[in-house]
């Protein structure tokens, strides 16, 4: 593309300046200028102080699932495509719509579906989130399966009224005469390393405050496919947040056939006896590292729970674990005040007060907008969580 752009500029006789022409030459691979740039970058990355890590976690794939049939290597966006493919194949009323989904979507989640199933089943909407969700509610109420995509979770707020006031309350207010259970809303979610204010948000807490919805956040490709298919099948409007940093980073062997992972059942990812760690989405992988660090450095055995469904959340699994360990650490990227950790914290202290050995710790984002340059300081990384574990153990 850059070559063609250079050619286009040349043909137009647009002689900007010497610098611009050189910039064009350098912009592509090859040429002495390009090598110079690469060399400079390499020298710069050699100095540890200036290095910015690519991610604050390492993705750990789960063991290959054997009970769902043959598997294929997929990353998170491919597992989403696979789930949508299965849905469009088995459900003739299913439609997928959103901004730019026709060509495959900005995160490639809908690649190939339009060609396979037709443009009346996979289509673009104009830039109007409120319209997208409102339209989706209508489609669902009339009996078709609606899968709406909001391009980034940060943009979901124009649709907040439609989700909270219309979708969530439809069944209740019509006395079960109508419902929009066929509606599933998908949105990329969470920090990505360079998203800053409007491409990194985790809005699950806003919607958790609304009865009538289900909110689901997977941690890996296998979970994503199973949970998304469950959301689509579920008879309630569901919001499915996909951790965008995992779209390419998370690779696993994912079953090609459709399968369901039950909603509202938290999964105990690691068994332990001293501290319960609760997280969801990307943060589960951070907590895995925290558990390893705690074992190595403190001799502390951590039990890690992936909540998976935020609303309605699995209180039994978490409380049972806290009864066993006596200590609870909850971690999420969203700001701490009013974040979902507060709800878990309140409920657990209600149910397990006498079992608690230390106050429940919440390691979350600070109460600021999601920062641009300060992201590494803002996110609840493994060091902050490890520190919280240490304090709980020594309480």
């Amino acid at each position: 593309f850059a070559m063609a752009a250079a050619a286009a500029r040349f043909l137009l006789g647009s002689v900007h300046s010497r610098a611009a022409a050189t910039a064009v030459a350098l912009g592509t691979h090859g040429g002495p200028g390009g090598a110079l740039l690469k060399g400079a970058a390499a020298r710069r990355s050699g100095r540890a102080a200036q290095r910015r890590y690519a991610a604050h976690f390492t993705f750990q794939p789960d063991p290959v699932p054997t009970k769902y049939g043959p598997t294929q290597k997929m990353n998170l966006f491919q597992s989403v495509t696979s789930a949508l493919d299965n849905t469009l194949a088995s459900d003739p009323t299913a439609v997928i719509f959103g901004e730019d989904v026709a060509f495959g979507g900005v995160f490639r989640c809908t690649v190939g579906l339009r060609d396979k199933y037709g443009k009346d089943r996979v289509f673009n909407t104009p830039l109007c989130e409120q319209g997208i969700v409102g339209f989706g509610i209508g489609v669902a109420v009339a009996g078709a399966t609606a899968i709406a995509e909001i391009q980034f979770a940060d943009y979901i707020y124009p649709a907040f009224d439609q989700i909270v006031n219309e979708a969530a309350k439809y069944r209740y207010r019509s006395g079960n005469l109508f419902d929009c259970g066929n509606l599933t809303i998908r949105a990329p979610w969470g920090c990505v390393g360079h998203g800053s204010l409007y491409h990194s948000q985790s809005p699950e807490a806003f919607f958790a405050h609304c009865p009538g919805l289900k909110i689901v956040i997977p941690r890996s490709p296998v979970q994503a496919k199973g949970l998304l298919l469950s959301c689509i099948a579920d008879k309630n409007p569901c919001i499915f947040f996909e951790p965008k940093i995992l779209y390419r980073a998370a690779v696993e062997q994912v079953p090609t056939e459709p399968f369901h992972i039950p909603l509202s059942q938290a999964e105990v990812v690691l068994e332990g006896s001293d501290v319960t760690l609760v997280a969801w989405g990307t943060q589960v992988h951070v907590m895995r590292e925290v558990a390893t660090m705690a074992q190595e450095k403190l001799g502390v055995s951590c039990e890690l729970i992936d909540l998976q469904t935020i609303l309605p959340w699995d209180t039994d699994t978490v409380c049972k674990s806290v009864v066993k360990t006596g200590r609870l650490l909850i971690s999420h990227e969203a700001p701490v005040t009013g974040g979902f950790a507060a709800e878990i914290s309140a409920r657990v202290q209600e149910e397990c007060f006498l079992n608690l050995e230390a106050p429940i710790a919440r390691v979350c984002g600070y109460d600021t907008p999601f920062p641009h340059i300060f992201e590494p300081f803002y996110i609840p990384d493994k060091w902050k969580c490890f520190d919280a574990v240490k304090r709980m153990i020594n309480y």
């Binding site: 040349f10 002689v15 022409a21 030459a25 901004e99 673009n124 830039l127 641009h372």
Partner: protein, 325 residues
């Protein structure tokens, strides 16, 4: 192959490089001003539109050219820095649309107000922020115009309200600023910019209604660059005559690649608002040379559209201007 191209360009640049030539000749050889015929604008609910003749003085011409050149080079440099990962996050470049920013600034006064969406680097510059502060903001440095905390989409200056990430959210804000101007009675106007993608947001229409109802001195400007990210206007809008979308608000359709056309239209619109007649809508037909943002995968599609656009319109914003200097 590119080295040959760049050497050729470099050679021809130094041969007919305008800057060099200007400094070599004496100013007495130049006429102080020229008058031009500019493209007539389509109008909606107006008896007459902006004038189709305009006068450009030498100083103005050089100033517009210089400003557009700086903006272009700044954006191309930002492109390069982004690819080197020195600028991170999201970066929406403005090259190709320079005539819009420069023309608008030429048509309004420095104490008028302006608000736009995320493709804001050009406006940040025309509203008076030095290039150094813009680049510092892009790279997240303390010396940046928002202390490095905002990045590409969040740049602000006196009478410039950004720099807004959420599509369409800035337009009701602009209407609000216009209300403040009317309330203060200072005959200032507010220019609220948005794109062809944002033109389908509900809050735009809410703003139109409030501005018309209360006769706010607000100039709504739709920068129609033919693509809302990757979706072309025909596939996003039932009505692509964005200057008519204000319905009860008068509208003008302007050639956004011609800085003089934009200037005259903006002057016309500003006079309209200042005379208390209420809001007015302008559609600037323009084009961006980059994808929606630096991480946008749709670039090859846009290049195809870009080439056909040039064949049809045969314009490049400051080539037009340069050819008359």
């Amino acid at each position: 192959m590119l080295t040959i191209v760049s050497n050729a360009l470099r050679g021809s640049a130094s041969k007919n490089g305008t800057r060099l030539v200007v400094s070599a000749r004496s100013y007495a050889d130049f006429t102080p001003q020229v008058s031009f015929d500019i493209k007539r604008c389509d109008v909606h609910r107006l008896d007459q539109g902006p004038p189709d003749k305009t006068v450009l003085t030498r100083e103005q011409g050089l100033q517009y050219y210089r400003t557009m050149q700086v903006m272009r080079r700044m954006e191309l440099k930002a492109d390069q820095l982004y690819k080197q990962k020195i600028i991170r996050g999201f970066c929406h470049l403005y090259d190709g649309q320079e005539a819009c920013a420069v023309g608008i600034e030429a048509g309004i006064k420095p104490d008028d107000h302006l608000i736009t969406a995320y493709r804001a680097h050009g406006y940040t510059y025309t509203r008076g922020v030095p290039v150094k502060e813009i680049l510092a903001e892009l790279t997240g440095r303390k010396g940046g115009v928002a202390k490095g905390k905002g990045g590409s989409m969040h740049m602000y200056a006196k009478h410039f309200y950004g720099g807004n990430g959420i599509v369409g959210a800035q337009v009701p804000l602009g209407a609000g600023v216009a209300l403040a101007c009317k309330y203060h009675g200072n005959s200032q106007v507010c220019v609220a910019l948005y794109g062809d993608g944002a033109a389908n947001q509900g809050q735009i229409f809410e703003s139109y209604n409030m501005a018309a109802l209360w006769k706010l001195p607000c100039i709504f400007i739709c920068e129609n660059n033919k693509y809302g990210m990757g979706t072309s206007v025909e596939r996003a809008s039932a009505n692509t005559d964005y200057y008519k979308r204000g319905d009860f608000i008068p509208g003008i359709r302007v050639d956004g690649m011609d800085v003089l056309c934009v200037r005259e239209a903006t002057k016309f619109a500003a006079d309209y608002c200042r005379s208390g007649k209420g809001p007015i809508l302008m559609e600037l037909q323009t084009y961006r040379y980059h994808g929606h943002s630096m991480s946008d995968p749709g670039s090859p599609v846009l290049l195809y559209g870009c080439c056909s656009f040039f064949l049809v319109r045969g314009t490049n914003p400051w080539i037009k201007l340069k050819s008359v200097s």
